[in-house]
Amino acid sequence: MFEKIKLENLPKENILTFGEFYKGKLHNSSLEILSPLKNIAKSLNKKLILVCLIDSFKNIKNLKEIKKSLADEVWFVINSELKDFKDDLYTEVLTQIIKSSQPYGFFFPATKIGMSLAPRIAGALKVGLCAHVNYLEVKDNQIVMSRPTYGENIIAKLVSKSSPVMATISLGVFNIKYGKEEPLMKEIIFPENFSWSSKLKIRNFIPSKKKPTKLSTAKIVVSGGRGLKNKETFQKLFELAEILGAEVGATRPVCYEGWVEEERMIGVSGVTVKPKVYIGFGISGALQHTVGMENSEFIVAINIDKEAPLVKMANLALIGDARKILELLLKRLKS
């Protein structure tokens, strides 16, 4: 089927990235992050390799996507124990791969699994790990990673003094791009005496009752912040969203206030959106939030404060009481 390669014989010094699977489907975020990483790999003259831990090759549902991806190679590790995500086992497998192939960098999508796995590996190898990176570049042969930080309007650029360079990359920031050639697919064979045991036993799985929001791929986003004053008014955004065929987003403070579920939070540790039209009601535009929507094609800001950052970055800003304007807008659209 494809080339089998022994763990100890892995090619060295490449850029590796983690492919996250759920029920046989490679998560989109793992494909998204290939886009910036391909550029990094090219600049450093290295190969980009997607590493996938699965229980069985025939269970893979979106093999087509993998074959179209930007990866130069795809390495599979196949074992029935890998069916569910077990923090310690996955860490051990990837740590062995890193020790053998000594990659230049190893990257993860900032999914819940990625954020559980990457730090364990970093701790096990005692190397540095950057979180929620949303921009990567190469300067003087070094990977420089950017991320917004400390909750305010500050962007930090970080490098890692240790090897491999590791980072988790923010979701929804990058578009999935396709490669010119199909990647080479290889299966890594682990030594006979490798222990596939885990201290964790997955007993029961209850799929999420809530439908995952389609926020990250929405073409139109209507979003609300504290300027909407209360939960009742915020909920009116759902009415507006219905009329416009939009998805509803929110800022961090209103999620924490319980006005809407955290899945709708746009920003650093939430969702990144790239809609054609983004309308922000009563949102001041703290960096926390704007990094999650700044690439929207057309931004409308509705705020009482002329100096608010979102007003300044908007294509169209309406200065007024967000609550009143939302209510009037709904009235007009319903009549």
Binding site: D87, D88, T111, K112, I113, M115, S116, L117, P119, R120, A122, G123, K126, V127, G128, L129, C130, A131, T149, Y150, G151, E152, N153, I154, I155, K157, L158, V159, S160, K161, K199, L200, K201, I202, R203, N204, F205, P207, S208, I243, L244, A246, K276, V277, T290, F298, I302, P309, V311, K312, A314, N315, L316, L318, I319, G320, L328, L329, R332, L333
Partner: protein
């Protein structure tokens, strides 16, 4: 009796951030610190486990002395013992250096069953310390946890991932980071304990108490380094309109029509 350790962090009160211009790290000693809001679900879980399984709760925090009131708050919320990990050498630590210190402190408190932490702090927001610390200690870690139950001598941990919730069976010891939305209700501190803790001070452990290698602390122990920080400059982009709400709404509707979001 089970021993449960809770790690808490003091974070800057939003709006009072001060960054050291040279090292680009937070000047924690000079800021007003509040308890990381995401640590409260971890404290709540420890209080519930203490009630249900008769456990002892030890709360620890790595930080400057202005973190002590937060340890006292944790005591008032049910913790039995407070320990402050404080040393000038800790300043400027990234998550690896922090995990190193925490791992050593946790090891010093062995044997223990569980270590609970908040999912992430609201300043760094990396969520890295719980799994990193677990890896350094060679014990399992589970993140996004919503609840923990005991079955015979194993812990059943309910954790959330992108796709739903799963039950994981695991033996102690382990480290768990608690989901910020794990609980509908989080208890306040108790009046009796607030009065009790006035006359108590936390135990203080320094780098030498923990036998720490100075190379692994602070900036020198932090492989990730900030090389530059800058403030986002926001430029004026387009139209800023003022006026009566009705007029503004009309203008918005015009634009929505232009973009074919609504029909004419």
């Amino acid at each position: 009796m089970e021993k449960i350790i809770v790690c808490i962090k003091g974070v800057p009160k939003p709006g009072s951030i001060k960054v050291d211009p040279e090292t680009h790290t937070l000047k924690r000693e000079s800021m007003e610190l509040i308890l990381n809001p995401n640590d409260r679900p971890a404290l709540e879980l420890s209080a519930r486990l203490k009630e249900t399984y008769d456990a002892e709760v030890i709360v620890i925090s790595m930080g400057p002395p202005n973190v002590v009131p937060l340890l006292k708050y944790a005591y008032a919320s049910g913790a039995d013992q407070m320990i402050l990990l404080s040393d000038r050498a800790f300043a400027g630590s990234d998550t690896l250096a922090t995990s190193y210190v925490l791992a050593k402190a946790i090891k010093k408190l062995s044997p223990f069953s569980l270590v609970l932490m908040g999912l992430k702090s609201i300043d760094g927001e990396t969520a890295q310390v719980p799994p990193e610390t677990a890896a350094l200690l060679g014990i399992p870690s589970l993140t996004n946890v919503k609840n923990i139950l005991k079955e015979k001598n194993k812990w059943i941990v309910i954790r959330e991932n992108e796709y739903g919730e799963e039950e994981v069976e695991v033996e102690a010891p382990l480290i768990v980071s608690v989901s910020p939305v794990a609980f509908d209700y989080i208890r306040p501190p108790s009046l009796k304990r607030l009065i009790e803790v006035k006359n108590k001070e936390p135990l203080i452990w320094t780098a030498s108490d923990l036998n720490l290698d100075p190379q692994k602390l602070g900036l020198s122990g932090s492989p990730t380094q900030v090389v530059e920080v800058y403030e986002r400059k926001i430029e004026m982009k387009g139209n800023i309109l003022e006026g009566e709400p009705q007029e503004l709404v009309e203008k918005l509707i015009e634009v929505l029509k232009e973009k074919t979001l609504i029909k004419h």
